[in-house]
């Protein structure tokens, strides 16, 4: 990466991300330096686990919401951290050696991606490394005593199992909290909502990874190195399933975004109208503390809010629905909702679209109020970035507060437009 490229990457990072990346970098350097000074304990095992981590990083996938995860790599890292013995021979590598193996493996796995121009999300990698290091620092000092206990007979494994489960749970909590803080800062969401969102995302995959990590550590006890090969099988199935799921989710959003443009191509609305309304609406929704599933529905509804115009005989000149008569606007909303209801699955989105013209007195859903406000704003301002025009438009919306527009929506919109900068990066 050349200097200007690195500069560009740095500029898009928030302060929290930067802090985390620096912390993870320091931990990694400490780990590698310490290991280089004291020498690698059980080099064969370290190399095998490092290779598995690298492979896991290589086949990382992007979950909805642009979250990068590497389940196989994470499970391998867990396995190496939790490892008590390999085929009966106790392994006594230090926490810092775990960190070294982890960071070298991750970097090695990220390199091929980098070579083809897909840089990893630095903050995601840093988070994986940092939480991994925390777990190692907490667990490795106990490895010796636990290993002695486990060697003591039938029931000796239970304390180890308990400690593993407890520490992993703690680690997942820390990880979720870190991810939520970063995301809250990045997209300006409320921290509480962000924690819920991250927890919902992390829970299923986290459970699978944790189980596989423990499995790997236990399997190494009875199977030796063979465990490394076979343990990944259950997780491989999981990874395939999640990759497919994430793929269809991404395609879905892209498709709705793309097809929302047919109204523009047909000359029904100004170019870029649907995208701008949806961005503004999502930013406002987030400002008002909506969780991710609600935001997705809001985004779909905002993208398709004008789809009813396709059933009209002639395009409304300029497509400015805020200026057309209310009856016609209502009819467009009804027609649009009808189209969306045809899908048979987006009923809530259809309802949001149907009620996008309702006045406050009719108590429409929050998402409909947001779309109504965002739509009116965009009709008045369009693609222009002129601050005076924005101010005038907001002034005009304020005149309608109470009857036409929800006051909380207009205020939230005011705040969002004031900082404008994060809107281009969702």
């Amino acid at each position: 990466m050349n200097g200007s490229g690195a500069g560009r990457v740095l500029r898009t990072l928030d302060s929290g991300q930067l802090l985390l990346i620096c912390a993870a970098g320091l931990v990694a350097v400490a780990g590698v330096a310490h290991t280089a000074a004291t020498g690698l304990l059980d080099p064969q095992i370290a190399v095998a686990f490092g290779a598995l981590i690298a492979i896991g990083e290589l086949v990382r996938l992007t979950m909805p919401g642009n979250r990068e995860v590497a389940p196989i790599g994470a499970a391998a890292a867990l396995g190496y951290t939790l490892l008590l013995d390999m085929g009966g021979v106790p392994t006594l590598h230090s926490a810092l050696q775990v960190v070294a193996v982890l960071s070298v493996g991750m970097v090695a796995g990220a390199l091929p991606h980098l070579a083809v121009g897909r840089p990893p999300q630095l903050d995601g990698m840093a988070r994986r490394l940092f939480t991994g290091a925390l777990l190692a620092l907490a667990y490795r000092p106990m490895a010796g005593p636990l290993s002695d206990l486990a060697g003591g007979g039938e029931s000796g494994w239970w304390p180890a199992l308990g400690v593993m489960a407890l520490l992993i749970l703690l680690m997942v909590m820390v990880d979720v909290l870190l991810a939520a803080v970063l995301r809250a800062e990045q997209v300006r969401a409320a921290l509480k909502v962000a924690v819920h969102d991250e927890l919902r995302m992390a829970a299923p995959l986290g459970a699978a990874v944790a189980a596989s990590g423990i499995l790997l550590a236990l399997a190494s006890h009875s199977m030796g190195m063979t465990a490394l090969l076979v343990f990944a099988a259950p997780l491989l199935v999981t990874q395939v399933a999640f990759r497919k799921y994430a793929g269809i989710r991404a395609t879905y959003l892209q498709t709705v975004r793309a097809l929302s443009r047919v109204t523009e191509v047909g000359g029904y609305v100004e170019p870029g109208h649907s995208r701008r309304v949806s961005r503004l609406a999502v930013a406002v929704g987030r400002e008002l503390g909506m969780a991710e599933p609600e935001l997705l529905e809001l985004e779909y509804a905002a993208l398709m809010h004008d789809i009813g115009q396709l059933s009209l005989r002639d395009p409304i000149p300029g497509g400015a629905t805020v200026l057309t008569d209310p009856e016609q606007a209502r009819r467009i909303a009804e027609l649009g909702a009808e189209v969306i209801r045809q899908t048979g699955v987006l009923d809530r989105v259809a309802e949001i679209v149907r009620r996008q013209c309702d006045t406050c007195a009719e108590a429409p859903p929050m998402a409909s109020r947001i779309i109504k406000g965002a739509n009116a704003y965009d009709d008045l301002v369009g693609g222009s970035s002129d601050r005076d025009r924005a101010g005038a438009a907001l002034e005009r919306l304020r005149l309608g507060v109470g009857q036409e527009y929800d006051p909380t929506v207009v205020e939230a919109m005011n705040r969002v437009i004031d900082r404008l900068a994060p809107i281009h990066r969702l």
């Binding site: 494994w157 199977m223 799921y245």
Partner: protein, 451 residues
């Protein structure tokens, strides 16, 4: 046994034979002295419970209509931990799985075939030198070879028993035998889970099963989510494409039917599932750019000026522009872009000829023209299938790729052509009629030169 009625006699014989053999096996083991006394009953209970949990949650994986459950990894684990008799006993519990509405005969057969497979696999395991019982930590390497042998017998035997019953009861068509290789492979993958469970039993007992199966259940959940999203996605894309067509009453449903016909051709020429899906989407989206053509051009009676014709010729590009942001196969984009090219090079937008035209575009061109001809238009009624086919054959080589035409004719002759037609009367106020259809090969658009 009401469900037995209506089955052909050989199916009945087969069912009764399998169930009989299974119960004879079990009965023999019960009466012969001491065989069951050696069993570790607590492990048996745990494994049976595990087996039931898995059996009650069949997972849809890879193959469309076959429900694969990971339950047999529990039976294979029982082969190692309990021996042939124990494995058979675990298999028999399939009868009590929580699957409401499953008829008794199916339950009996299911548990019988699991019992037989488990017993035979267990015998093979012992024959190859495997020792029944919880393997010691050090003894893990010794069970690998016998276990592999047991799995290699279990999987095909299980497959044959089930395939036979499907064949005999006439359900074989529902389970395509195409994916067998893939199917077997995933089965062998699941077999390793049995090995894992057995190998870890010495360390942490039944916890090992939880650890192995938890990722699988998460995977099952994710697959469920994926399928739900996929269905939702397909419905959404169809609804949005239909919305684009609402303006013109006569072209309603065109996108869905072209998608269907293109899918039939692609299947006929043996496309893989990934590309098949891509071409269905391409067929669905091929005309979204048409909205960019001014309505007055589409409504104009008589020949078009060159400028107006150019507006029509632009629609594939417009369509491509709209859908470019979607993560489809590149082939799908090429199909949308070039679906109006002709074999003789006289098409648009680029005038490609013969093999220069992307395969997807050649397929969509045939499907598109066929649906146009067999649908009502404001200026004519729908033509019959036979007439449309004759037109397609006539155009093969000049307008259409002969290979695709032949494939389509074959597919329609075999499977018929019954597209879902939504019967809607043209609503009085929104109806717009177009005077021409750019897709209709029998009514080429007349262009007058202004020079």
């Amino acid at each position: 046994m009401a469900a037995l009625r209506g089955l052909p006699w050989f199916a009945k014989v087969y069912l009764i034979l399998v169930i009989g053999v299974a119960f004879a096996l079990l009965g023999y083991n019960v009466v012969s002295d001491g065989r069951l006394d050696l069993l570790d009953w607590s492990n048996l209970m745990v494994l049976a419970l595990l087996f039931l949990v898995c059996e009650s949650m069949p997972t849809l994986l890879h193959v469309r209509q076959a429900a694969v459950s990971v339950s047999f990894s529990a039976v294979l684990a029982a082969v190692v931990l309990l021996g042939p008799e124990g494995a058979a006993l675990v298999g028999v519990t399939a009868m009590f799985s929580v699957r409401p509405g499953l008829p008794l005969v199916k339950r009996l057969f299911n548990s019988a075939q699991f019992a037989i497979c488990g017993y035979v696999a267990g015998r093979v395991y012992v024959w190859l030198g495997g020792r029944s019982g919880v393997p010691t930590v050090a003894g893990f390497d010794d069970i690998i070879v016998p276990f592999a042998g047991a799995a290699a017998v279990f999987v095909p035997l299980n497959f044959v028993l089930i395939a036979l019953v499907l064949k005999l009861t006439g359900q074989a068509d529902q389970v395509p035998l195409r994916g067998v290789a893939q199917f077997m492979l995933s089965y062998f993958g699941y077999a390793t889970f049995g090995l894992l469970i057995a190998g870890l039993w010495a360390t942490v007992n039944s916890i090992s099963a939880v650890l192995v199966l938890l990722p699988l259940f998460v995977a099952r959940w994710a697959f469920g989510q994926y399928h739900a999203q996929q269905r939702s996605y397909d419905a959404t894309i169809a609804a949005l494409c239909q919305a684009v067509e609402t303006k013109d009453y006569y072209t309603r449903g065109h996108c869905t039917r072209v998608s269907m016909a293109a899918g039939m051709i692609a299947e006929e020429i043996g496309m893989g599932s990934e590309r098949l899906r891509a071409i269905r989407y391409a067929g669905m989206l091929h005309d979204v750019g048409k909205l960019g053509v001014p309505t007055k051009v589409l409504q104009k009676e008589g020949p078009l000026s060159e400028e107006e014709y150019a507006a029509i010729q632009l629609h594939p590009m417009r369509g491509l522009e709209i859908v470019r942001g979607i993560d489809f196969l590149d082939e799908a984009f090429a199909g949308i872009m070039h679906h109006h090219e002709r074999q003789d090079g006289k098409g648009y937008p680029m005038g490609l000829a013969g093999d220069e035209i992307p395969e997807f575009a050649r397929i969509i061109a045939v499907a598109d023209a066929f649906d146009s001809m067999t649908s009502d238009r404001s200026y004519r009624n729908a033509r019959s299938r036979e007439v449309a086919m004759t037109e397609l054959r006539k155009g093969a080589g000049t307008q259409f790729d002969p290979v695709m035409v032949v494939a389509f004719v074959k597919a329609v002759d075999r499977d018929g052509w019954e597209p879902p037609r939504t019967v809607v009367t043209p609503p009085a106020d929104v109806t717009e009629t177009t005077a021409k259809d750019h897709d209709d090969p029998t009514m080429p658009i007349q262009v007058v030169s202004e020079r």
